[in-house]
Symmetry: C2
Subunit: 329 residues, 2 copies
Protein backbone atom coordinates (compact mmCIF):
# COMPACT_ATOMS: atom_id res chain seq x y z
CA UNK A 1 0.00 0.00 0.00
CA UNK A 2 1.17 3.52 -0.70
CA UNK A 3 1.13 6.28 1.89
CA UNK A 4 -2.16 7.83 0.85
CA UNK A 5 -3.97 4.48 0.63
CA UNK A 6 -2.65 3.53 4.05
CA UNK A 7 -3.75 6.86 5.53
CA UNK A 8 -7.24 6.33 4.08
CA UNK A 9 -7.34 2.81 5.50
CA UNK A 10 -6.30 4.03 8.94
CA UNK A 11 -8.77 6.93 8.88
CA UNK A 12 -11.59 4.50 8.01
CA UNK A 13 -10.59 2.23 10.89
CA UNK A 14 -10.55 5.14 13.32
CA UNK A 15 -13.96 6.27 12.14
CA UNK A 16 -15.53 9.66 11.54
CA UNK A 17 -15.03 12.72 13.73
CA UNK A 18 -17.97 13.76 15.88
CA UNK A 19 -20.08 16.66 14.62
CA UNK A 20 -18.24 19.96 14.89
CA UNK A 21 -14.75 18.42 14.62
CA UNK A 22 -12.52 17.79 11.59
CA UNK A 23 -10.01 14.95 11.95
CA UNK A 24 -8.04 13.63 9.01
CA UNK A 25 -8.54 14.83 5.44
CA UNK A 26 -7.41 18.42 5.86
CA UNK A 27 -4.08 20.11 6.59
CA UNK A 28 -4.81 20.05 10.31
CA UNK A 29 -7.51 18.79 12.64
CA UNK A 30 -10.10 21.33 13.80
CA UNK A 31 -11.26 20.91 17.39
CA UNK A 32 -13.59 23.03 19.50
CA UNK A 33 -12.09 24.08 22.82
CA UNK A 34 -13.64 26.40 25.34
CA UNK A 35 -15.70 28.27 22.77
CA UNK A 36 -12.76 28.66 20.40
CA UNK A 37 -10.98 26.42 17.93
CA UNK A 38 -7.73 24.47 18.17
CA UNK A 39 -5.87 23.50 14.99
CA UNK A 40 -3.76 20.39 15.49
CA UNK A 41 -1.29 18.62 13.21
CA UNK A 42 1.76 16.35 13.20
CA UNK A 43 4.61 15.62 10.79
CA UNK A 44 7.49 13.23 11.15
CA UNK A 45 10.89 13.53 9.44
CA UNK A 46 13.02 10.40 9.20
CA UNK A 47 16.70 10.27 8.23
CA UNK A 48 17.23 8.66 4.84
CA UNK A 49 13.59 9.16 3.87
CA UNK A 50 12.74 12.78 4.59
CA UNK A 51 16.27 14.09 4.93
CA UNK A 52 19.80 12.96 4.15
CA UNK A 53 22.53 13.87 6.59
CA UNK A 54 25.01 13.96 3.69
CA UNK A 55 23.65 17.42 2.87
CA UNK A 56 21.11 18.30 5.59
CA UNK A 57 22.60 19.75 8.74
CA UNK A 58 21.02 19.23 12.12
CA UNK A 59 19.90 22.84 12.02
CA UNK A 60 18.18 22.23 8.67
CA UNK A 61 16.30 19.24 10.07
CA UNK A 62 15.13 21.09 13.16
CA UNK A 63 14.13 24.17 11.19
CA UNK A 64 12.23 22.19 8.58
CA UNK A 65 10.37 20.15 11.17
CA UNK A 66 8.89 23.36 12.60
CA UNK A 67 8.26 24.89 9.17
CA UNK A 68 6.29 21.98 7.71
CA UNK A 69 4.00 21.81 10.75
CA UNK A 70 3.54 25.58 10.80
CA UNK A 71 2.68 25.45 7.10
CA UNK A 72 -0.15 22.99 7.84
CA UNK A 73 -1.60 25.32 10.48
CA UNK A 74 -1.23 28.36 8.20
CA UNK A 75 -3.05 26.51 5.40
CA UNK A 76 -6.08 26.18 7.71
CA UNK A 77 -6.06 29.96 8.17
CA UNK A 78 -4.40 29.89 11.54
CA UNK A 79 -1.36 30.90 13.53
CA UNK A 80 0.87 28.15 14.93
CA UNK A 81 1.20 28.47 18.70
CA UNK A 82 2.91 25.52 20.44
CA UNK A 83 4.89 22.47 19.39
CA UNK A 84 6.02 19.28 21.09
CA UNK A 85 8.71 17.09 19.54
CA UNK A 86 9.58 13.41 19.88
CA UNK A 87 13.18 12.77 18.94
CA UNK A 88 14.60 9.34 18.10
CA UNK A 89 18.38 9.09 18.05
CA UNK A 90 20.91 6.38 17.30
CA UNK A 91 23.17 5.97 20.36
CA UNK A 92 26.17 7.19 18.35
CA UNK A 93 24.53 10.53 17.45
CA UNK A 94 26.87 13.36 18.41
CA UNK A 95 25.72 15.88 20.97
CA UNK A 96 26.66 18.61 18.50
CA UNK A 97 24.20 17.21 15.96
CA UNK A 98 21.43 17.21 18.57
CA UNK A 99 22.40 20.75 19.59
CA UNK A 100 22.15 21.80 15.95
CA UNK A 101 18.69 20.23 15.57
CA UNK A 102 17.52 22.10 18.64
CA UNK A 103 19.04 25.33 17.31
CA UNK A 104 17.08 24.84 14.08
CA UNK A 105 13.89 24.25 16.03
CA UNK A 106 14.54 27.38 18.09
CA UNK A 107 15.34 29.50 15.03
CA UNK A 108 12.15 28.50 13.21
CA UNK A 109 9.98 28.69 16.29
CA UNK A 110 11.19 32.24 16.97
CA UNK A 111 10.53 33.19 13.36
CA UNK A 112 6.89 32.11 13.58
CA UNK A 113 6.35 32.84 17.31
CA UNK A 114 5.88 29.23 18.33
CA UNK A 115 6.56 27.92 21.83
CA UNK A 116 8.39 24.58 21.98
CA UNK A 117 6.57 23.28 25.01
CA UNK A 118 7.80 19.72 25.46
CA UNK A 119 9.28 16.59 24.04
CA UNK A 120 10.37 13.02 24.41
CA UNK A 121 13.50 11.10 23.41
CA UNK A 122 14.08 7.50 22.47
CA UNK A 123 16.68 5.45 20.60
CA UNK A 124 16.35 4.26 17.00
CA UNK A 125 18.44 3.13 14.04
CA UNK A 126 18.07 6.51 12.34
CA UNK A 127 17.49 10.06 13.49
CA UNK A 128 13.87 11.11 13.35
CA UNK A 129 11.85 13.99 14.66
CA UNK A 130 8.10 13.73 15.05
CA UNK A 131 6.62 17.11 15.81
CA UNK A 132 3.06 17.97 16.73
CA UNK A 133 1.75 21.52 16.62
CA UNK A 134 -1.33 23.33 17.83
CA UNK A 135 -2.56 26.69 16.64
CA UNK A 136 -5.58 28.96 16.51
CA UNK A 137 -7.47 30.52 13.59
CA UNK A 138 -6.50 34.09 12.67
CA UNK A 139 -10.12 35.16 12.48
CA UNK A 140 -13.46 33.62 13.30
CA UNK A 141 -13.37 30.93 10.64
CA UNK A 142 -11.09 28.10 9.66
CA UNK A 143 -10.29 27.72 5.95
CA UNK A 144 -10.96 24.12 4.96
CA UNK A 145 -9.96 22.38 1.75
CA UNK A 146 -13.63 22.09 0.93
CA UNK A 147 -16.10 24.91 0.59
CA UNK A 148 -15.25 26.42 -2.78
CA UNK A 149 -17.65 26.66 -5.69
CA UNK A 150 -17.52 26.81 -9.47
CA UNK A 151 -16.28 30.16 -10.69
CA UNK A 152 -13.75 30.66 -7.92
CA UNK A 153 -10.27 31.67 -8.99
CA UNK A 154 -7.48 29.17 -8.22
CA UNK A 155 -4.33 30.91 -7.01
CA UNK A 156 -0.96 29.98 -5.57
CA UNK A 157 1.67 31.93 -3.65
CA UNK A 158 5.33 32.16 -4.64
CA UNK A 159 7.04 29.81 -7.09
CA UNK A 160 6.88 26.05 -7.45
CA UNK A 161 9.38 23.29 -8.13
CA UNK A 162 12.28 24.92 -6.31
CA UNK A 163 12.32 22.46 -3.43
CA UNK A 164 12.23 19.48 -5.79
CA UNK A 165 15.03 21.00 -7.85
CA UNK A 166 17.08 21.72 -4.75
CA UNK A 167 16.69 18.11 -3.62
CA UNK A 168 17.79 16.87 -7.06
CA UNK A 169 20.89 19.07 -6.99
CA UNK A 170 21.83 18.12 -3.43
CA UNK A 171 21.16 14.40 -3.82
CA UNK A 172 23.47 14.32 -6.86
CA UNK A 173 26.26 15.93 -4.92
CA UNK A 174 26.29 19.12 -6.95
CA UNK A 175 28.17 21.95 -5.25
CA UNK A 176 25.45 24.55 -4.95
CA UNK A 177 27.53 27.14 -3.13
CA UNK A 178 29.00 28.72 -6.26
CA UNK A 179 25.68 29.75 -7.76
CA UNK A 180 23.03 31.97 -6.18
CA UNK A 181 20.35 30.16 -8.18
CA UNK A 182 21.44 26.67 -7.11
CA UNK A 183 21.98 27.74 -3.51
CA UNK A 184 18.51 29.24 -3.56
CA UNK A 185 17.00 26.00 -4.81
CA UNK A 186 18.88 24.03 -2.16
CA UNK A 187 17.56 26.36 0.52
CA UNK A 188 14.01 25.67 -0.66
CA UNK A 189 14.59 22.00 0.21
CA UNK A 190 16.64 22.50 3.35
CA UNK A 191 14.94 25.47 5.00
CA UNK A 192 11.42 25.82 3.68
CA UNK A 193 9.39 28.81 4.73
CA UNK A 194 5.93 28.53 6.19
CA UNK A 195 3.57 31.11 4.71
CA UNK A 196 2.16 32.11 8.09
CA UNK A 197 2.19 35.89 7.64
CA UNK A 198 0.94 35.51 4.07
CA UNK A 199 -1.92 33.26 5.21
CA UNK A 200 -2.96 35.86 7.75
CA UNK A 201 -3.18 38.56 5.09
CA UNK A 202 -5.01 36.25 2.69
CA UNK A 203 -7.55 35.34 5.35
CA UNK A 204 -8.63 38.98 5.55
CA UNK A 205 -9.93 38.41 2.00
CA UNK A 206 -11.79 35.21 2.98
CA UNK A 207 -10.44 32.56 0.63
CA UNK A 208 -13.04 29.79 0.29
CA UNK A 209 -10.55 26.93 0.49
CA UNK A 210 -6.81 26.52 1.06
CA UNK A 211 -4.11 23.83 1.20
CA UNK A 212 -0.33 23.94 1.42
CA UNK A 213 1.59 22.55 -1.54
CA UNK A 214 3.50 19.78 0.19
CA UNK A 215 3.01 16.86 -2.19
CA UNK A 216 3.29 18.76 -5.48
CA UNK A 217 0.78 21.01 -7.22
CA UNK A 218 -0.91 18.14 -9.07
CA UNK A 219 -1.55 16.11 -5.91
CA UNK A 220 -2.57 19.02 -3.72
CA UNK A 221 -4.78 20.51 -6.42
CA UNK A 222 -6.49 17.14 -6.68
CA UNK A 223 -7.00 17.11 -2.88
CA UNK A 224 -8.49 20.59 -3.00
CA UNK A 225 -10.89 19.62 -5.82
CA UNK A 226 -11.79 16.34 -4.22
CA UNK A 227 -12.59 17.90 -0.85
CA UNK A 228 -15.35 20.05 -2.30
CA UNK A 229 -16.46 18.00 -5.26
CA UNK A 230 -15.50 20.34 -8.05
CA UNK A 231 -13.47 20.25 -11.23
CA UNK A 232 -10.76 22.65 -12.32
CA UNK A 233 -9.22 24.11 -15.41
CA UNK A 234 -5.59 25.12 -14.92
CA UNK A 235 -3.36 26.61 -17.59
CA UNK A 236 0.10 24.98 -17.40
CA UNK A 237 1.61 28.17 -18.82
CA UNK A 238 0.31 30.02 -15.76
CA UNK A 239 2.10 27.77 -13.24
CA UNK A 240 4.75 29.94 -11.53
CA UNK A 241 7.76 27.70 -12.12
CA UNK A 242 10.79 28.65 -10.03
CA UNK A 243 12.95 30.58 -12.54
CA UNK A 244 16.13 29.21 -10.95
CA UNK A 245 15.29 25.75 -12.25
CA UNK A 246 16.48 26.83 -15.72
CA UNK A 247 20.07 26.93 -14.45
CA UNK A 248 19.75 23.47 -12.94
CA UNK A 249 18.24 22.11 -16.18
CA UNK A 250 21.21 23.52 -18.14
CA UNK A 251 23.68 21.99 -15.70
CA UNK A 252 22.07 18.55 -15.86
CA UNK A 253 21.62 18.59 -19.61
CA UNK A 254 22.33 14.85 -19.77
CA UNK A 255 19.21 14.24 -17.72
CA UNK A 256 15.56 15.06 -18.10
CA UNK A 257 15.01 17.91 -15.68
CA UNK A 258 11.74 19.47 -16.71
CA UNK A 259 11.07 22.53 -14.54
CA UNK A 260 7.31 22.24 -15.11
CA UNK A 261 7.37 18.58 -14.02
CA UNK A 262 9.16 19.61 -10.84
CA UNK A 263 6.59 22.34 -10.24
CA UNK A 264 3.71 19.87 -10.70
CA UNK A 265 5.17 16.84 -8.95
CA UNK A 266 8.23 17.87 -6.96
CA UNK A 267 6.52 18.62 -3.67
CA UNK A 268 7.67 20.34 -0.48
CA UNK A 269 7.37 23.89 -1.79
CA UNK A 270 4.98 24.72 1.08
CA UNK A 271 3.27 27.46 -0.90
CA UNK A 272 -0.41 28.18 -0.33
CA UNK A 273 -2.86 26.97 -2.98
CA UNK A 274 -6.23 28.65 -2.49
CA UNK A 275 -9.55 29.50 -4.07
CA UNK A 276 -10.94 32.98 -3.87
CA UNK A 277 -13.63 35.18 -5.38
CA UNK A 278 -12.19 36.22 -8.80
CA UNK A 279 -12.84 39.86 -7.94
CA UNK A 280 -10.41 39.63 -5.03
CA UNK A 281 -7.39 38.24 -6.90
CA UNK A 282 -5.95 41.68 -7.46
CA UNK A 283 -6.30 42.59 -3.80
CA UNK A 284 -4.62 39.35 -2.79
CA UNK A 285 -1.73 40.14 -5.14
CA UNK A 286 -1.36 43.65 -3.73
CA UNK A 287 -1.55 42.50 -0.12
CA UNK A 288 1.06 39.78 -0.52
CA UNK A 289 3.32 41.91 -2.74
CA UNK A 290 3.87 44.03 0.37
CA UNK A 291 5.31 40.91 1.97
CA UNK A 292 7.49 40.17 -1.06
CA UNK A 293 5.34 37.23 -2.10
CA UNK A 294 3.80 36.73 -5.54
CA UNK A 295 0.23 35.50 -6.05
CA UNK A 296 -0.49 33.80 -9.38
CA UNK A 297 -3.88 32.87 -10.74
CA UNK A 298 -3.59 29.34 -12.12
CA UNK A 299 -7.10 28.96 -13.48
CA UNK A 300 -10.62 28.41 -12.28
CA UNK A 301 -12.79 26.02 -10.34
CA UNK A 302 -15.40 24.34 -12.57
CA UNK A 303 -18.58 22.42 -11.93
CA UNK A 304 -17.53 19.39 -13.93
CA UNK A 305 -16.10 16.93 -11.40
CA UNK A 306 -14.88 14.63 -14.15
CA UNK A 307 -12.70 17.40 -15.59
CA UNK A 308 -9.80 18.06 -13.32
CA UNK A 309 -7.05 19.09 -15.65
CA UNK A 310 -3.78 20.94 -15.95
CA UNK A 311 -3.75 21.62 -19.68
CA UNK A 312 -3.89 18.21 -21.37
CA UNK A 313 -3.03 16.28 -18.23
CA UNK A 314 -5.63 14.61 -16.07
CA UNK A 315 -4.96 15.35 -12.37
CA UNK A 316 -5.78 11.79 -11.36
CA UNK A 317 -3.02 10.48 -13.61
CA UNK A 318 -0.59 13.20 -12.61
CA UNK A 319 -1.07 12.62 -8.92
CA UNK A 320 -0.23 8.94 -9.30
CA UNK A 321 3.21 10.09 -10.39
CA UNK A 322 3.52 12.40 -7.35
CA UNK A 323 5.46 12.09 -4.17
CA UNK A 324 4.66 9.06 -2.06
CA UNK A 325 6.86 8.23 0.91
CA UNK A 326 6.09 4.55 0.99
CA UNK A 327 6.66 3.85 -2.67
CA UNK A 328 9.50 6.07 -3.75
CA UNK A 329 12.87 4.69 -2.96
CA UNK B 1 24.79 11.61 27.61
CA UNK B 2 21.85 9.82 29.18
CA UNK B 3 18.25 10.63 28.37
CA UNK B 4 17.61 12.90 31.32
CA UNK B 5 20.86 14.86 30.85
CA UNK B 6 20.06 15.27 27.17
CA UNK B 7 16.54 16.47 27.95
CA UNK B 8 17.95 19.02 30.40
CA UNK B 9 20.47 20.17 27.81
CA UNK B 10 17.75 20.59 25.18
CA UNK B 11 15.42 22.39 27.59
CA UNK B 12 18.21 24.83 28.49
CA UNK B 13 18.85 25.51 24.79
CA UNK B 14 15.17 26.15 24.13
CA UNK B 15 14.99 28.52 27.06
CA UNK B 16 12.36 29.22 29.70
CA UNK B 17 8.63 29.31 29.10
CA UNK B 18 7.01 32.73 29.16
CA UNK B 19 5.16 33.69 32.35
CA UNK B 20 1.95 31.73 32.77
CA UNK B 21 3.13 28.70 30.77
CA UNK B 22 4.83 25.48 31.85
CA UNK B 23 6.99 23.77 29.22
CA UNK B 24 9.31 20.91 30.08
CA UNK B 25 9.87 19.64 33.60
CA UNK B 26 6.39 18.35 34.34
CA UNK B 27 4.27 15.47 33.03
CA UNK B 28 2.74 17.76 30.40
CA UNK B 29 3.05 21.34 29.23
CA UNK B 30 0.50 23.82 30.58
CA UNK B 31 -0.61 26.46 28.10
CA UNK B 32 -3.24 29.18 28.44
CA UNK B 33 -5.77 29.14 25.62
CA UNK B 34 -8.82 31.34 25.32
CA UNK B 35 -9.18 31.81 29.08
CA UNK B 36 -8.73 28.11 29.80
CA UNK B 37 -5.79 25.74 29.96
CA UNK B 38 -4.44 23.20 27.49
CA UNK B 39 -2.33 20.29 28.72
CA UNK B 40 0.04 19.03 26.04
CA UNK B 41 2.43 16.07 25.95
CA UNK B 42 4.19 13.65 23.61
CA UNK B 43 5.66 10.15 23.90
CA UNK B 44 7.40 8.05 21.30
CA UNK B 45 7.60 4.25 21.26
CA UNK B 46 10.31 2.65 19.13
CA UNK B 47 10.54 -1.03 18.20
CA UNK B 48 13.45 -2.78 19.90
CA UNK B 49 13.74 -0.02 22.52
CA UNK B 50 10.27 0.59 23.90
CA UNK B 51 8.64 -2.58 22.63
CA UNK B 52 9.70 -5.91 21.19
CA UNK B 53 7.57 -7.42 18.45
CA UNK B 54 8.57 -10.88 19.68
CA UNK B 55 5.97 -10.49 22.41
CA UNK B 56 4.18 -7.16 21.80
CA UNK B 57 1.35 -7.33 19.29
CA UNK B 58 0.44 -4.37 17.12
CA UNK B 59 -2.63 -3.90 19.28
CA UNK B 60 -0.44 -3.74 22.40
CA UNK B 61 1.75 -1.05 20.85
CA UNK B 62 -1.17 1.08 19.74
CA UNK B 63 -2.95 0.72 23.08
CA UNK B 64 0.14 1.55 25.11
CA UNK B 65 0.97 4.59 23.01
CA UNK B 66 -2.40 6.12 23.95
CA UNK B 67 -2.18 4.98 27.58
CA UNK B 68 1.22 6.49 28.34
CA UNK B 69 0.22 9.86 26.90
CA UNK B 70 -3.13 9.81 28.70
CA UNK B 71 -1.28 8.98 31.92
CA UNK B 72 0.81 12.14 31.55
CA UNK B 73 -2.32 14.28 31.13
CA UNK B 74 -4.03 12.56 34.06
CA UNK B 75 -0.99 13.20 36.27
CA UNK B 76 -1.47 16.95 35.66
CA UNK B 77 -5.02 16.65 36.94
CA UNK B 78 -6.62 16.65 33.52
CA UNK B 79 -8.66 14.66 31.04
CA UNK B 80 -7.01 13.64 27.78
CA UNK B 81 -8.99 14.94 24.80
CA UNK B 82 -7.30 14.56 21.42
CA UNK B 83 -4.29 12.74 20.02
CA UNK B 84 -2.30 12.89 16.81
CA UNK B 85 0.11 10.11 15.86
CA UNK B 86 3.16 9.97 13.61
CA UNK B 87 3.84 6.44 12.46
CA UNK B 88 7.15 5.27 11.00
CA UNK B 89 7.05 1.90 9.26
CA UNK B 90 9.60 -0.34 7.54
CA UNK B 91 8.40 -0.95 3.96
CA UNK B 92 7.95 -4.66 4.73
CA UNK B 93 5.52 -4.03 7.60
CA UNK B 94 2.38 -6.08 7.04
CA UNK B 95 -0.91 -4.27 6.65
CA UNK B 96 -2.34 -6.54 9.35
CA UNK B 97 0.25 -5.27 11.85
CA UNK B 98 -0.66 -1.68 11.02
CA UNK B 99 -4.36 -2.55 11.34
CA UNK B 100 -3.65 -4.05 14.75
CA UNK B 101 -1.78 -0.93 15.90
CA UNK B 102 -4.71 1.21 14.83
CA UNK B 103 -7.13 -1.15 16.60
CA UNK B 104 -5.10 -0.76 19.78
CA UNK B 105 -5.15 3.02 19.43
CA UNK B 106 -8.91 2.93 18.88
CA UNK B 107 -9.52 0.60 21.84
CA UNK B 108 -7.53 2.78 24.25
CA UNK B 109 -8.90 6.04 22.88
CA UNK B 110 -12.47 4.81 23.37
CA UNK B 111 -11.64 3.70 26.89
CA UNK B 112 -10.47 7.17 27.89
CA UNK B 113 -12.73 9.18 25.52
CA UNK B 114 -9.92 10.52 23.35
CA UNK B 115 -10.36 11.60 19.74
CA UNK B 116 -7.62 10.47 17.36
CA UNK B 117 -7.66 13.57 15.24
CA UNK B 118 -4.82 13.12 12.78
CA UNK B 119 -1.51 11.61 11.87
CA UNK B 120 1.43 11.27 9.54
CA UNK B 121 3.31 8.31 8.09
CA UNK B 122 6.89 7.85 7.01
CA UNK B 123 9.31 4.99 6.43
CA UNK B 124 12.00 3.87 8.89
CA UNK B 125 14.15 0.87 9.78
CA UNK B 126 11.94 0.02 12.74
CA UNK B 127 8.32 0.58 13.64
CA UNK B 128 7.76 3.61 15.80
CA UNK B 129 4.77 5.60 16.93
CA UNK B 130 5.15 9.16 18.19
CA UNK B 131 1.92 10.35 19.73
CA UNK B 132 1.06 13.81 20.97
CA UNK B 133 -1.94 14.46 23.18
CA UNK B 134 -3.83 17.50 24.39
CA UNK B 135 -6.20 17.63 27.33
CA UNK B 136 -7.90 19.97 29.76
CA UNK B 137 -7.83 20.19 33.58
CA UNK B 138 -10.69 18.45 35.41
CA UNK B 139 -11.26 21.46 37.64
CA UNK B 140 -9.95 24.99 37.79
CA UNK B 141 -6.39 24.11 38.69
CA UNK B 142 -3.61 22.03 37.21
CA UNK B 143 -1.69 19.74 39.61
CA UNK B 144 2.01 20.39 39.12
CA UNK B 145 4.92 18.35 40.43
CA UNK B 146 5.84 21.32 42.56
CA UNK B 147 3.68 23.00 45.17
CA UNK B 148 3.75 20.57 48.07
CA UNK B 149 5.06 21.40 51.52
CA UNK B 150 6.60 19.61 54.47
CA UNK B 151 4.07 17.53 56.34
CA UNK B 152 2.15 16.41 53.25
CA UNK B 153 1.45 12.72 52.97
CA UNK B 154 3.10 10.90 50.06
CA UNK B 155 0.73 8.40 48.46
CA UNK B 156 0.63 6.14 45.42
CA UNK B 157 -2.19 4.37 43.60
CA UNK B 158 -2.27 0.64 42.84
CA UNK B 159 0.79 -1.63 42.97
CA UNK B 160 4.31 -1.13 41.70
CA UNK B 161 6.86 -3.30 39.92
CA UNK B 162 4.33 -5.31 37.92
CA UNK B 163 5.24 -3.77 34.56
CA UNK B 164 8.95 -4.33 35.16
CA UNK B 165 8.27 -7.92 36.19
CA UNK B 166 6.09 -8.50 33.16
CA UNK B 167 8.82 -7.18 30.89
CA UNK B 168 11.38 -9.48 32.55
CA UNK B 169 9.13 -12.50 32.08
CA UNK B 170 8.30 -11.68 28.45
CA UNK B 171 11.85 -10.77 27.45
CA UNK B 172 13.09 -14.13 28.78
CA UNK B 173 10.55 -15.97 26.70
CA UNK B 174 8.60 -17.31 29.66
CA UNK B 175 5.16 -18.61 28.70
CA UNK B 176 2.93 -16.40 30.81
CA UNK B 177 -0.36 -17.81 29.61
CA UNK B 178 -0.52 -20.69 32.07
CA UNK B 179 -0.47 -18.50 35.18
CA UNK B 180 -2.91 -15.76 36.08
CA UNK B 181 -0.18 -13.99 38.06
CA UNK B 182 2.37 -14.04 35.22
CA UNK B 183 -0.24 -13.10 32.62
CA UNK B 184 -1.28 -10.22 34.87
CA UNK B 185 2.32 -9.00 35.10
CA UNK B 186 2.73 -9.27 31.34
CA UNK B 187 -0.44 -7.23 30.84
CA UNK B 188 1.01 -4.50 33.05
CA UNK B 189 3.85 -4.16 30.53
CA UNK B 190 1.82 -4.69 27.36
CA UNK B 191 -1.42 -2.84 28.11
CA UNK B 192 -0.84 -0.33 30.88
CA UNK B 193 -3.80 1.52 32.23
CA UNK B 194 -3.91 5.30 32.52
CA UNK B 195 -5.35 6.42 35.86
CA UNK B 196 -7.63 9.01 34.27
CA UNK B 197 -10.80 8.28 36.26
CA UNK B 198 -8.77 7.90 39.44
CA UNK B 199 -7.02 11.23 38.85
CA UNK B 200 -10.38 12.92 38.43
CA UNK B 201 -11.58 11.61 41.80
CA UNK B 202 -8.29 12.50 43.49
CA UNK B 203 -8.44 16.05 42.14
CA UNK B 204 -11.69 16.61 44.05
CA UNK B 205 -9.50 16.31 47.16
CA UNK B 206 -6.93 18.81 45.84
CA UNK B 207 -3.62 16.94 45.93
CA UNK B 208 -0.79 19.46 46.16
CA UNK B 209 1.47 17.70 43.65
CA UNK B 210 1.26 14.69 41.36
CA UNK B 211 3.36 12.69 38.86
CA UNK B 212 2.84 9.40 37.06
CA UNK B 213 5.24 6.59 37.93
CA UNK B 214 6.76 6.01 34.51
CA UNK B 215 10.47 5.79 35.33
CA UNK B 216 10.21 3.86 38.58
CA UNK B 217 9.20 5.06 42.04
CA UNK B 218 12.73 6.13 42.99
CA UNK B 219 13.18 8.34 39.93
CA UNK B 220 9.70 9.82 39.94
CA UNK B 221 9.77 10.44 43.68
CA UNK B 222 13.03 12.28 43.18
CA UNK B 223 11.40 14.39 40.41
CA UNK B 224 8.49 15.21 42.70
CA UNK B 225 10.81 16.25 45.55
CA UNK B 226 13.10 18.19 43.25
CA UNK B 227 10.26 20.16 41.67
CA UNK B 228 9.23 21.71 44.96
CA UNK B 229 12.48 21.68 46.88
CA UNK B 230 11.56 19.30 49.66
CA UNK B 231 12.89 16.12 51.18
CA UNK B 232 11.01 12.91 51.88
CA UNK B 233 10.96 10.01 54.24
CA UNK B 234 9.53 6.86 52.70
CA UNK B 235 9.20 3.51 54.43
CA UNK B 236 10.29 0.73 52.05
CA UNK B 237 7.94 -1.65 53.86
CA UNK B 238 5.04 0.57 52.84
CA UNK B 239 5.77 0.38 49.10
CA UNK B 240 2.86 -1.53 47.52
CA UNK B 241 4.86 -4.17 45.67
CA UNK B 242 2.81 -6.09 43.11
CA UNK B 243 2.02 -9.37 44.94
CA UNK B 244 2.26 -11.34 41.70
CA UNK B 245 6.01 -10.68 41.59
CA UNK B 246 6.49 -13.39 44.23
CA UNK B 247 5.52 -16.05 41.69
CA UNK B 248 7.96 -14.65 39.16
CA UNK B 249 10.74 -14.53 41.76
CA UNK B 250 10.10 -18.20 42.58
CA UNK B 251 10.16 -19.14 38.93
CA UNK B 252 13.43 -17.31 38.27
CA UNK B 253 15.12 -18.56 41.42
CA UNK B 254 18.45 -18.76 39.58
CA UNK B 255 18.32 -15.02 39.13
CA UNK B 256 18.07 -12.07 41.46
CA UNK B 257 14.52 -10.87 41.01
CA UNK B 258 13.88 -8.61 43.95
CA UNK B 259 10.24 -7.48 43.89
CA UNK B 260 11.07 -4.32 45.85
CA UNK B 261 13.84 -3.45 43.39
CA UNK B 262 11.36 -3.80 40.55
CA UNK B 263 8.88 -1.59 42.40
CA UNK B 264 11.52 1.09 42.97
CA UNK B 265 13.33 0.94 39.64
CA UNK B 266 11.24 -1.05 37.17
CA UNK B 267 9.25 1.80 35.70
CA UNK B 268 6.20 1.93 33.42
CA UNK B 269 3.65 1.15 36.12
CA UNK B 270 1.83 4.41 35.31
CA UNK B 271 0.42 4.72 38.79
CA UNK B 272 -0.15 8.15 40.32
CA UNK B 273 2.31 9.35 42.95
CA UNK B 274 0.89 12.35 44.80
CA UNK B 275 1.12 14.52 47.88
CA UNK B 276 -1.94 15.37 49.87
CA UNK B 277 -3.00 16.81 53.21
CA UNK B 278 -2.52 13.91 55.69
CA UNK B 279 -6.11 14.39 56.88
CA UNK B 280 -7.39 13.51 53.40
CA UNK B 281 -5.58 10.20 52.92
CA UNK B 282 -8.55 8.22 54.22
CA UNK B 283 -10.94 10.01 51.90
CA UNK B 284 -8.65 9.37 48.96
CA UNK B 285 -8.55 5.68 49.86
CA UNK B 286 -12.35 5.50 50.11
CA UNK B 287 -12.90 7.39 46.87
CA UNK B 288 -10.54 5.24 44.84
CA UNK B 289 -11.63 2.00 46.50
CA UNK B 290 -14.97 2.57 44.75
CA UNK B 291 -13.01 2.40 41.49
CA UNK B 292 -11.19 -0.76 42.57
CA UNK B 293 -7.93 1.09 43.06
CA UNK B 294 -5.81 1.02 46.22
CA UNK B 295 -4.19 4.14 47.67
CA UNK B 296 -1.11 3.56 49.85
CA UNK B 297 0.62 6.09 52.04
CA UNK B 298 4.35 5.72 51.46
CA UNK B 299 5.60 8.31 53.91
CA UNK B 300 5.85 12.05 54.31
CA UNK B 301 7.30 15.14 52.72
CA UNK B 302 10.00 16.72 54.87
CA UNK B 303 11.70 20.09 54.97
CA UNK B 304 15.19 18.69 54.73
CA UNK B 305 16.14 18.86 51.05
CA UNK B 306 19.32 16.88 51.66
CA UNK B 307 17.33 13.94 53.00
CA UNK B 308 15.47 12.24 50.22
CA UNK B 309 15.38 8.64 51.27
CA UNK B 310 13.56 5.38 50.88
CA UNK B 311 14.62 3.63 54.06
CA UNK B 312 18.42 3.48 53.99
CA UNK B 313 18.65 4.34 50.30
CA UNK B 314 19.40 7.80 49.02
CA UNK B 315 17.04 8.71 46.17
CA UNK B 316 19.82 10.36 44.18
CA UNK B 317 21.76 7.09 44.12
CA UNK B 318 18.68 5.00 43.45
CA UNK B 319 17.59 7.11 40.52
CA UNK B 320 20.97 6.70 38.85
CA UNK B 321 20.14 3.00 38.68
CA UNK B 322 16.70 3.72 37.16
CA UNK B 323 15.35 3.39 33.67
CA UNK B 324 17.19 5.41 31.07
CA UNK B 325 16.40 4.87 27.41
CA UNK B 326 19.68 6.08 26.08
CA UNK B 327 21.92 4.06 28.35
CA UNK B 328 20.17 0.76 28.91
CA UNK B 329 20.71 -1.77 26.24
Amino acid sequence: LGESALIERIAARIGPAPRGETWSGDDAAVLPFSGRTILYTTDVMVEGVDFDRAYCSGTDVGFKSVAINASDIAAMGGAPRHAVAALSLPPETSVSFVDAMVDGVVEASKRWSIGVAGGDISRAHEVSMAMAMIGAPFGDAVVHRSGAKAGDALCVTGHLGGAGGGLKALSRGIDVTGSAALAGLAARHLRPSARVVEAKRLCELHPTAMIDVSDGLAVDLWHLMDASGTGCDVDPAAVPVDPRLAELADLLSDDTIDPLDLALLGGEDFELLFRIDPDKVGRAQTALAELGCAVTRLGSVTENVSERRIGDHDLEELKEAGWDHLRTG
